[in-house]
Amino acid sequence: MQKRVVFRSRLLPYLLVLPQIAITVIFFFWPSYQAIESSFFIEDAFGFSREWVGLQNYFELFDDPGYLKSFRTTLIFGVSVAFLAMSIALGLAVAANRVVKAATGYRTLLIWPYAVAPALAGVMWYFMMNPSLGIVAYWLRSLGVDWNHYLNGDQALLLVIVAAAWKQISYNFLFFLAGLQSIPKSMLEAAAIDRAGPVRRFWTIVFPLLTPTTFFLLVVNLVYAFFDTFSLIHATTEGGPVDATSVLVFRVYNTGFIGQDYGSSAAQSVILMALVIGMTFVQFRYVERKVQY
């Protein structure tokens, strides 16, 4: 039997989707259009005059080695954050799923960091890791590690990766836990009777059944790493030292808001938008095939 809703009025269905369409148009299409438009102009800071320059803003970007390096940084950053945040969250979820006593208590504690605002999380890590004031930096020094993320680009990148991943673990944990709880107990028990150990059970039953969750989280985490980590980087390293932590979204901000170079900033936003659209497309086209619903 086919389920089908029939509207008597022709207008009603359009009216019902209108709010969603309006939101998409106002908050996505309109700004995107404006970004594309301003990327073809050079404009003065106060907005008195603008000059059509065609693709010049784009050409300048691809001539700038710093911009190209930023792609590499963004990729390392995004992949590391997603991998770290997801693998730790999965481990914690599996552990929390086995806890019998006070399970709610553990879960609440693990979900807690998600309530911390990104900028706040950034400031917290900034203080803990500050080479002169930070407690963690102090411990590291007593272990013989010379921690100075003001100078050492790799350390700075590590710092923002850890901070960004830490922030996202709770979110991932929540989804993994829900996914784990929806796995039928009978299947696991049957496997156990067939003498499959816990590790074997995890890789042959639990993990494949979690692939829809994992795939969803992969998309969400990458988008998070590419866009939402701005305030965190802003509060900790400000893209430095040199440009070690200057990811694409931070450059958009730096060029547009610090430099008041709106044309170039808009061109960078357009490129970033194209990149994320392309990446999401690839993920749905190819990675999703491996997902078992």
């Binding site: 404009e43 003065d44 106060f46 002169s132 100075n148 100078l151 030292p241 008041q260």
Partner: protein
């Protein structure tokens, strides 16, 4: 009247007009002074409001210098600009360019229109020369001006048996002694472009760019990849290799190193005085003039200021601008300036305030606090030492920061880094020239 319009009317009335403020002209003042400085700034507004029955200045902290400038420009584009906004010295060229297009109400004209007697000659030349147009008219009101000085930890120097260095060669020696005596990070500095390139150049009378450091025209080009600056940066890099210099981050981030005693020689703004007086309790600190590089000049020229001025934005009502003018007059008075100078370490902007501080005996009770003002007025400023006026300089400073960090971490030599900074900086200067001519 139907229900809807009644509701609208009451809402507007409730939002727009607290009854007590109805007869006072309100002026929005956005500033970038955080912490203790912010409290003092808000106090200025409160004191002024208390003494005025026609004006109400609303003083609001909007984040650091960059954030406040960005917020003000964004507000201007949206037609919501404040009357007064505080802009740091490197934003001057951007603000001036906007002034040519009618976004700015120049201070000399504001005072003239408000009928307030305004004598530009009472201000210190080294301070206002940075902010005047080609006809020597003052465009924005200097509010907080400082200059980099050499801060030192006297106890650490005494313990190492060293004197306060007056030349860079001596500084290197002293840093070595300090290191041997257990000081972890003997030498450091903040606002590196300002303290070690901009001021280093002015202090030795070396131009940083062509066209009188940008004062004479938008066609200016950078020249700070000259031998003097390159050798200087290389010297610091070598000190870093040796462990006698440790980089502590951009802006004032390295302040913590000095306060907790890890660093004993620190070059940064004289305006740290107020905070140091409060925060440093376990050692004696002092300030001295910047060291001289004897390979470049026998004697110093003069240093240049940093800090910020108050710009007035167009687009408001005349009575409100009258309040702005009165507020500016209040801020420039010798009493206000002297108390600001003495509590913060910023230099007084008028000669009268300097004289008043002398009369009050401030320099006897707090010795060396006139270091900054002495540095600024050491000699008549030359084209290479009267200040800088480069477009897009906020961004260019970030480029300089990046390139210097590459030197400190050993990725690049001083020469390569300065060449790269000049090249990247020039590209932005051309961009500014195109957008504003």
């Amino acid at each position: 009247m139907n229900v809807k319009s009644f509701l609208t009317a009451t809402t507007i009335a409730a939002v727009a007009a607290p009854a007590w403020a109805a007869d006072k002209a309100e002026v929005e003042f956005w500033h970038a002074m955080g912490g203790q400085l912010g409290e003092t700034t808000d106090q200025f507004a409160a004191d002024f409001n208390a003494g005025s029955d026609s004006c109400q200045i609303n003083s609001t902290y909007k984040g650091n210098y960059t954030e406040n400038m960005t917020a003000s420009i964004a507000a201007f584009r949206a037609g919501q600009q404040p009357h007064i906004t505080q802009v740091f010295e490197v934003g001057t060229a951007t603000m001036m360019a906007a002034g040519d297009k009618g976004a700015i109400y120049p201070v000399y004209k504001l005072m003239e229109d408000a009928g307030i007697d305004f004598d530009q000659s009472v201000y210190l030349p080294a301070v206002i020369s940075y902010y005047t147009d080609t006809d020597n008219n003052l465009l924005s009101l200097p509010f907080n001006s400082s200059t980099p000085v050499l801060w030192y930890n006297k106890d650490a120097l005494d313990a190492a048996g060293a004197e306060v260095p007056t030349t860079w060669d001596e500084l290197e020696e002293v840093a070595r002694k300090l290191k041997e005596n257990g000081v972890a990070k003997p030498f450091s500095f903040g606002w590196q472009s300002w303290s070690n390139i901009e001021n280093y150049s002015a202090w030795h009378n070396v131009a940083m760019g062509s066209e009188e450091n940008g004062f004479a025209g938008l066609g200016t080009e950078f020249t700070f990849n000259n031998d003097a600056v390159v050798n200087h940066i290389q010297r610091i890099a070598d000190m870093g290799q040796e462990g006698t210099f440790v980089y502590g981050g951009r802006r004032g981030d390295s302040r913590a190193q000095f306060v907790n005693g890890e660093t004993a020689l620190w070059i940064n703004s004289s305006a740290y005085y107020g905070g140091f007086k409060k925060d440093i309790t376990d050692f004696t600190f002092g300030q001295a003039m910047l060291p001289v590089d004897t390979a470049v000049a026998d004697a110093p020229q003069n240093s240049i200021i940093g800090g910020a001025t108050l710009w007035v934005l167009q687009g408001h009502e005349a009575p409100e601008y009258k309040c702005v003018a009165e507020f500016f007059q209040f801020l420039s008075s010798a009493e206000q300036q002297a108390s600001w100078h003495q509590s913060t370490g910023y230099v007084p902007i008028t000669t009268a305030a300097y004289d008043l501080s002398k009369e009050q005996g401030f320099y006897e009770t707090d010795p060396m606090t006139d270091t900054a003002i002495k540095q600024l007025s050491l000699n008549e400023p030359t084209p290479a030492s009267k200040g800088l006026r480069f477009g897009n300089f906020v961004q260019i400073r970030d480029i300089i920061n990046e390139e210097l960090e590459a030197v400190w971490s050993g990725e690049k030599s001083a020469k390569d880094a300065m060449d790269a900074a000049v090249e990247r900086g020039n590209a932005l200067l051309r961009k500014f020239e195109n957008a504003n001519s």
